[in-house]
């Protein structure tokens, strides 16, 4: 019977061409949308590595203050902020945090392995407690590390996996150009591209404000105590101004930064999904229309098949089967192109994302086709054979 269905669809290929094309294009759009959704979902499920709630991200502009004074004032500012009762923890570090739009990449190598990695420099305060980082191997930085000639570094778990696999990373070396770093610890994650995007991994290092060979980092991270509201901002700026006269402190709330990041990333996804839904609706209506038309046009064929021994159920299965064959042809064509996405890595995602998207898209198209074909096929099955045979 399956061969018979393929034969029928093939012999009606001209009439079926547009429907196959509609299924093909819908499948491709669906595949693209689902790939992005699956990729975003997989990223979303991974640990962010830090807790953005109650974090204030403060960008400092030093204006004309001489460099040596900046170092001193920055240290005083961190100390001052640590004394405020509303603040739980303070850190001074590079500004390439999640949702900031900043990145600072550095190439790291180990033997033949090399990778561009986000680089966070911590210059004061307690960055681990401020960001609520989770050390899973080795240790976090301690006093004196900033002066160590071993160049201690803390890496995220995906970087550890990339360079060291399942081995322990603590004590092992990574190079950046001529400079050699020693891994002292591994943190679960620190995703600077946010939860919806893939991440290159991060390594962290410490430097002293006294080290004149390095510039002074200009971002303060403040972990506020629970219940502290934005109303405290004025007081905070006043207290900071008492130490850092003439500096400008621009306060952003990380939860708000996160909200706008989510909006920016989810809006195109939503638009894409709506377009996709319209296309799918179009295909659904097309299938519905084609089937109604087919049934009315093939009234006498239905009667004939009943006369030749087909049961009502077999007629139902035949019409459903024909539309499934049509869908299969569209999907085979679509899958051929979709697999090129995987082979050429068009969207820069993990291969498994494409395979999931391929599977989900195929199942969705088949479900759509079955749902749309259900009622017309039932109607075909209910046609009275004696009446149908008198239709011309």
């Amino acid at each position: 019977m399956i061969k018979h269905l393929f034969k029928l669809v093939w012999n009606r290929r001209r009439a079926n061409f547009l429907m196959i094309m509609a299924i093909f294009f819908s499948f491709l759009v669906l595949f693209g949308t689902i790939s992005v959704l699956v990729n975003s979902w997989q990223n979303y499920k991974k640990p962010l590595g830090f807790e953005p709630e109650r974090i204030w991200y403060v960008n400092i502009q030093h204006y004309q203050t001489p460099k040596d004074e900046v170092r001193v004032i920055s240290e005083q500012l961190v100390r001052k902020l640590q004394t405020l009762p509303e603040i739980e923890h303070v850190a001074l570090a590079s500004g390439n945090a999640a949702y900031s739009g900043w990145s600072n990449m550095m190439g790291l190598t180990r033997g033949n392995l090399q990778r561009g990695i986000n680089n966070v420099t911590i210059q004061g305060g307690d960055f681990k407690s401020t960001m609520d980082l989770n050390v899973v191997e080795g240790r976090w930085f301690q006093d004196g590390d900033e002066f160590s000639n071993q160049n201690p570094m803390v890496i995220t778990q995906d970087i550890k996996q990339f360079f060291f696999g399942n081995e322990s990373a603590a004590g092992k070396k990574l190079k950046s150009g001529d400079k050699e770093f020693t891994v002292i610890g591994v943190i679960e994650a620190y995703r600077t591209n946010g939860e919806l995007n893939s991440d290159a991994g991060t390594f962290m290092r410490v430097s002293s404000l006294a080290d004149t060979s390095r510039w002074v980092e200009n971002t303060l991270y403040l972990r506020m105590k629970p219940g502290v509201t934005s109303g405290i901002e004025e007081k905070l700026l006043k207290e900071a101004g008492s130490v850092a006269t003439g500096w400008k402190l621009d306060v952003k709330y990380m939860d708000q930064m996160r909200a706008s990041y989510m909006k920016e990333n989810l809006t195109p996804l939503l638009i894409f999904a709506i377009i996709c839904a319209f296309l799918i609706l179009n295909v659904a209506l097309g299938i519905f229309g084609v089937l109604w038309y087919n049934i009315n046009k093939r009234y006498s064929e239905i009667g004939l098949r009943r006369a030749l021994g087909a049961t009502a159920n077999q007629i139902y299965k035949q019409f459903l089967g024909e539309i499934l064959v049509l869908a299969t042809l569209g999907l085979v064509l679509g899958s051929f192109f979709a697999i090129q996405f995987v082979l050429l890595d068009v969207m820069g995602m993990q291969p498994e994302v494409y395979y999931y998207a391929l599977g989900i898209s195929i199942v969705m198209i088949y479900l759509l086709v079955i749902v749309c074909a259900f009622q017309p096929s039932r109607q075909a099955a209910a046609i009275h054979p004696a009446l149908a045979l008198h239709e011309e």
Partner: protein, 232 residues
């Protein structure tokens, strides 16, 4: 072979009740070639539909091979149609999107236990019987009316049915083609012993069969042996 006992068929709408068949009693023994005649609307096709289990009578019983067909389910009726009855229609009812061979194979698609290769072999045999073995790959719209009807006959006989019900099989054909088709039916009846019930408007064709039953206004008005057959 087929017995109709007190068959009545009434079509009822909200306002009109139409009696298509009234108290029809007809027995067609095995191997007989019966023709049914009557003016349009006298119930011939309704009778054939009831005999072919495509329609159910309002009252009365249809018996096929001694088996009264009453309260049968769709699946059982379909099985009897497939195994025991072959249909030939005035307008051929071929599927235009299938080749001649595929059209002839159709009844066996609904019969379990017949392999694809067996279907093809039987279809080729059936087409040879009606003289169309050279047209297996043609499509219906590439054939003449007579050829199409021969394809329809091949389709009717592929399943080796005991009964063929033919509804005006020569109605759309010219006299030469009509003769050809009629001769095939006569051969089937004489050589294979197939029981044939044929509805026709053509007195000449009817007189080639063994028995002629006439209908008028849903009632059986005559039933007589046709002796011409012996002289054909």
């Amino acid at each position: 072979m087929i017995t109709l006992s007190d068959i009545e068929k009434v079509y009822q709408t909200k306002t009109i009740e139409t009696v298509a068949l009234q108290r029809v009693n007809l027995a067609v023994p095995k191997g007989e070639f019966v023709s049914i005649m009557g003016p349009s609307g006298c119930g011939k096709s309704t009778l054939l539909n009831i005999m072919g289990l495509l329609d159910v009578p309002t009252s009365g019983v249809v018996t096929i091979d001694g088996q009264p067909i009453k309260s049968y389910k769709d699946k059982e009726l379909a099985h009897i149609r497939n195994e025991k009855i072959g249909f030939v229609f005035q307008s051929y009812h071929l599927v235009n999107d299938l080749s001649v061979l595929d059209n002839v194979e159709l009844p066996l698609l609904y019969r379990s236990g017949v392999s694809g290769s067996e279907r093809t072999k039987l279809a080729k045999d059936a087409l040879e019987k009606v003289g169309l073995s050279a047209r297996t790959k043609h499509f219906p719209n590439q054939l003449s009316g007579g050829q199409r009807q021969r394809v329809a006959i091949a389709r009717a006989l592929i399943g080796n049915p005991a009964i063929i019900l033919a509804d005006e099989p020569t109605g759309n054909l010219d006299s030469v083609m009509g003769e050809e088709v009629m001769n095939i039916l006569l051969d089937l009846n004489r050589n294979d012993g197939t029981t044939i019930v044929m509805v026709t408007h053509d007195e000449n064709m009817a007189h080639k069969t063994e028995r002629l039953v006439r209908f008028f206004d849903g009632q059986q008005v005559s039933d007589s042996k046709v002796f011409d057959l012996q002289t054909v």
